[in-house]
Structures are given as C-alpha cells and as structure tokens.
C-alpha cells in the first residue's frame, strides 16, 4: 500500500499522433502527492496542465504510464469503476465555477452527494456545514446568478469537497476573480484544504499563490520540473 494519495508515473499523452498536427502534451510526467500535501502546478497556457489534471482525475487516459490513487492502479479499471472512484475520491474545482444555474447553492452541493449514495438529510447537513465554513451559509437558498463571483467560487469549493474526497484537483481556482477577491477566496480554499487534510494539486499562473503551497512543480515542454 502506497502512502501517497496520488502517484502518477511516466505519463505520456500525444494528440493527433503521426499527423502533421501532432501535439506531444505529456512526455513522461511523474508526480507523487501525500495526504495533507498541497502542490502548486505552475504552467503556461497550453502546456498541458488541464490534460494532466484530467488524467490524474480519471477523466482522461494516458497513452502510457500509470495513475495510482490511494495505492490502487487505475489504468486497467473498467470505466464504471473509474467513475465510481472519481466520484468518491476526487474533488474537482475549476477556474469558472460551473455551478448548475437552475439549482440553488445548497442544491449544487447536495446533488453530488446524492449521486454518491448519501442520504438527503445528511447531504443537506454537510452542505450547510461547508457553506458555513466558507462564510456564506446565509446564501444557501440563492441560485448562482444571485451570488457574487467570489460567492459562486466558494460554493464551487464546497461542491468539490462535498463527497469528502481524499484528492483535490483544482485548475486556476481563483483565476476568474479580481486580484483582491482572488486573494481572499484563495485563503478560504487553503483553510478548507488544511482542515480536511486531503492531498491537493492546484494549478495556478499566480506565483504568489503558488508560493503559499507546500511545494511547486512546473510543467514545461511536456515534462515536470521541481522548483
């Protein structure tokens, strides 16, 4: 049993292989993340960070290499098992909140829990506790359109953590916000991550935010460099 929450080894991914527009996105990427560790993934646009996060989060598959989550190799699992592991173990947070517009803040956090088999009352209690933790409990009954950008992103954090994942993957989680709000909301996210002790990979362009994480890795030319 590995003591790492996430262990990706020698990942390669090439799009349009053998064609004139071949793009070699990942060329042997390895990354280990331990429980409680927050890793900053720093990469320019188009460097393949989303591909890496999607492969680590079991939304995409590598051409070669392995992804282990909590010591289990995901490479050869059938799709439905990968979906089940992703739902129960991995939390995603994106740059834009992507909340379901017809659902309230509370419902957006309850739905993924229902999909994971949590009873409704328990799901609502957890959603409310998470909203309180990020300071917007009184906004629970509002739809996303009635929330500010910072509030929407806080709801997205709660949704990402709703199913008590052991691994959080975040892609520019505050990149859509103005600098001041971004800074404040990032503090909320870090506090939430530290509370729960999960392993996190947080992609960011912002070197100040990156410096506040446990360590930084840079994705450049399809390979990871440790800084």
């Amino acid at each position: 049993m590995s003591d790492h929450t996430l262990q990706v080894t020698d990942l390669t991914k090439t799009y349009n292989r053998g064609k004139p527009n071949e793009v070699r996105v990942l060329q042997g990427v390895s990354l280990d993340v331990k429980p409680g560790e927050v890793v900053a993934l720093v990469a320019p646009s188009g460097a393949g960070k989303s591909t890496l996060l999607h492969i680590a989060g079991l939304l995409d598959t590598p051409d070669s290499g392995t992804v282990q989550i909590e010591g289990t190799d995901m490479s050869n699992l059938p799709d439905h098992k990968r979906t089940a592991v992703r739902r129960a173990t991995v939390g995603f947070i994106y740059q834009f909140h992507h909340l379901l517009p017809e659902f309230t803040a509370m419902e957006n956090i309850v739905l993924p829990q229902l999909a994971n088999g949590v009873a409704e009352k328990a799901a609502e209690a957890r959603a409310m506790a998470l909203l309180a933790r990020v300071g917007i409990a009184e906004r629970a009954a509002h739809r996303p359109a009635a929330l500010s950008g910072g509030e929407q992103q806080r709801v997205a954090f709660c949704r990402g953590l709703a199913n008590k994942p052991s691994l959080l993957l975040a892609d520019e989680p505050t990149g859509n916000l103005d600098p001041e709000t971004s800074d404040r909301v990032f503090d909320v996210l870090m506090a939430l991550v530290r509370d729960t002790g999960l392993a996190a990979v947080i992609a960011t362009h912002n070197l100040d935010l990156a410096a506040r994480m446990d360590r930084q890795v840079r994705l450049n030319g399809g390979v990871l460099e440790t800084s």
Binding site: R87, Y94, Q95, F96, H98, P101, E102, L114
Partner: protein, 324 residues
C-alpha cells in the same frame, strides 16, 4: 389549478422517486420539468411526467444509473447516459465541458444513449449561464418524411441556440426542424379542423389538409429542403457523432414499453471571446436594429419566468396520483 413552480418541482421529484428513480436523477429531471412549466413550455413540462413514470416502471429508462463522463480529446467531452435520463448526464458533464471550452475556445459535448431530453433549450441555456454560446441538436422518433418522399425518416429533430447576455440570454431559440410538432396535427384532428397544406403529407407523399391522412403519412420539414437539411444536420450530429441510434430506430417517445430511447444530444460550446473582443458589439448592432422596429424582437430576449402556473385540473390530479 394554480400551482407554484417549487410545488411542481417537488411533486415531480416525488413522482419520479415513487416510480423507481434515484434521488439525484429525480432531482435533475424534476428541475427541468419545473423550468419548462415556468417558461410556459407546457409540451416539455408536466405533460411528460406520466410517461417518465411509466417508463421507469417498465425499464424503458434507467432511473438509477450513474452517467459516465470522459474527455476523449481536449475539446471533446462525452457523457454516456447509459440509457438513463438526459438531465443528470448533462449535469455531470457540464463543468468538464465548460472547462474544455475555456481552455480551447470551442468544445463539443456529446450526450450519448440518453432518454429524450424534451426541452433542448434547457441545456443550451445552462451553457450560456457559464458565459458561453451554446448550440444543441437532438433527434427523436421518426415523424418527418424527406421532400418528395412519403416515409418517415427523421424526428422533429430540434436545434437550440442560446447566446449569453449581461442579464440572462441575449438570444435564445429552440425549435423543431419539422413544420410543426406532431401534437398540432392530433389536436386538429380532435377539434375536427383541417390543417394547412404545408404541414404534412399523406401515405402517398401528397400534401394534405386532412389531419387523419397526415397521421397516416408524415410531417414535412419546416421550409422544405432547407428545414430538411437542418433536420439531417441534427440527425447526424445527435446520432452519428454521439453513437446513439437513428430516429428511424426509436419507437414513440411516450410509449411505456420497449427498448430505451437511446437518443443523443450534441452540443457545441463557444467562448464568444475566442477570436476577438467585439462579439458583444456585433450582437448589440443587430439587437438595436431589431428593437427599433415595433413588434419585432430577438428570440428569447427578455423572457418572463412565471412563479405560479395554471395547470389543468386533470393533469395536476394525475401528478398528485403519480407522486402519492
């Protein structure tokens, strides 16, 4: 009977659960039913609830299956509904599809092997709520014959488009590519009325004003060859791109028994700022020219959402019976 939209949602959800749907699936479908009613889109609202419930019972739709989301290419997202409802499959894939669009400028979302999505515009509106242009296509059971023909080949195959605005959609349309919905023919028949000559053909392919002859024949596409082209486009994207079935191979959408619908929905998502920053200005130029004309409007702009709906008594009694 006046019923609030939250009550419609709650009773729809209870009805679906009572007939075997899981909680998240029922929540997603009930939200869509309530939204259709709130917008006055009665065909896609409670009118469908009984068939959902009967099909849950018969197994024609799987009410508990979890959709599987994958991203086979950087700008291509797939939601396999696995013969379940379209709404939870779309909900599961939306954030991945939006992320793929922001990363690539344009992305597509294929929802495969799904139950009928009813209101296609419900989904393109959600894409627009993320600040993106959404265009959607789907197919349905066969009711439309090709121009010059007399046999049903494609469904009403709608196309929907929603363009984001500063305060809700700046443009929104959602219409079938057939001349009319089949329901208009059945209503004309029930009322003993004739139908316009350009709605349908009889079993020999001749245009007809007789609704009975039309029901034995087929609908025609809106605008003749032009609508036929758009209907085929929807067919090829919804069935061809997603790997779901052709309209030809789908039995009536409301029939309780039978094989799963296995329909596809195909969405194109675009970031309006992908190429330059003037999308809003181009949109405003058109919108102003339209607004300057009395009685003219951009479709879907300034739509009013109702909070209380006048549901026919018999229909509401049926809903309450289904949810009991």
């Amino acid at each position: 009977m006046k019923v609030s939209v939250p009550e419609i949602e709650a009773q729809s959800r209870a009805a679906l659960i009572a007939h075997g749907a899981g909680a998240p699936q029922a929540a997603a479908v009930a939200k869509a039913v309530a939204r259709a009613e709130a917008l006055g889109n009665v065909i896609c609202g409670l009118y469908y609830l009984e068939s959902y419930c009967m099909q849950l019972r018969s197994g024609r739709v799987n009410g508990t299956v979890s959709p599987e989301v994958s991203r086979p290419r950087p700008a291509a997202v797939l939601a396999d509904a696995k013969f379940g409802f379209a709404q939870p499959a779309f909900a599961a894939a939306l954030q991945v599809a939006v992320a793929a669009t922001l990363e690539n400028g344009v992305a597509t979302l294929a929802v495969a092997h799904a139950h009928t999505c009813t209101s296609l515009g419900y989904f393109t509106e959600q894409i627009a709520a993320a600040g993106l242009i959404g265009i959607g296509f789907t197919n349905a059971s066969p009711v439309v014959a090709p121009p010059g023909g007399n046999k049903r080949v494609i469904g009403t195959n709608p196309i929907a488009m929603t363009v984001p605005g500063s305060d809700g959609p700046a443009l929104h349309f959602d219409f079938s590519t057939s001349a009319v919905a089949l329901g208009k023919i059945t209503m004309a028949k029930a009322a003993g009325e004739s139908i316009p000559l350009d709605w349908a053909v009889d079993e020999n392919g001749a245009p007809t004003t007789d609704p009975e002859a039309a029901l034995n024949g087929a609908l025609v596409s809106a605008g003749g060859y032009k609508g036929w082209g758009f209907g085929l486009m929807a067919e090829l994207l919804a069935a061809g791109m997603t790997g779901s079935v052709n309209s030809l191979d789908v039995a009536g959408l409301k029939v309780a028994q039978g094989a799963p619908h296995d329909l596809g929905q195909f969405y194109i998502l675009m970031d309006p700022g992908t190429y330059h920053a003037d999308f809003g200005a181009r949109l405003a130029r058109v919108a102003e020219a339209v607004a300057a004309q009395d009685g003219a409007r951009i479709p879907g702009a300034d739509r009013q959402e109702m909070t209380e709906i006048d549901v026919p008594d018999a229909l509401w009694k049926l809903v309450l019976r289904l949810s009991a």
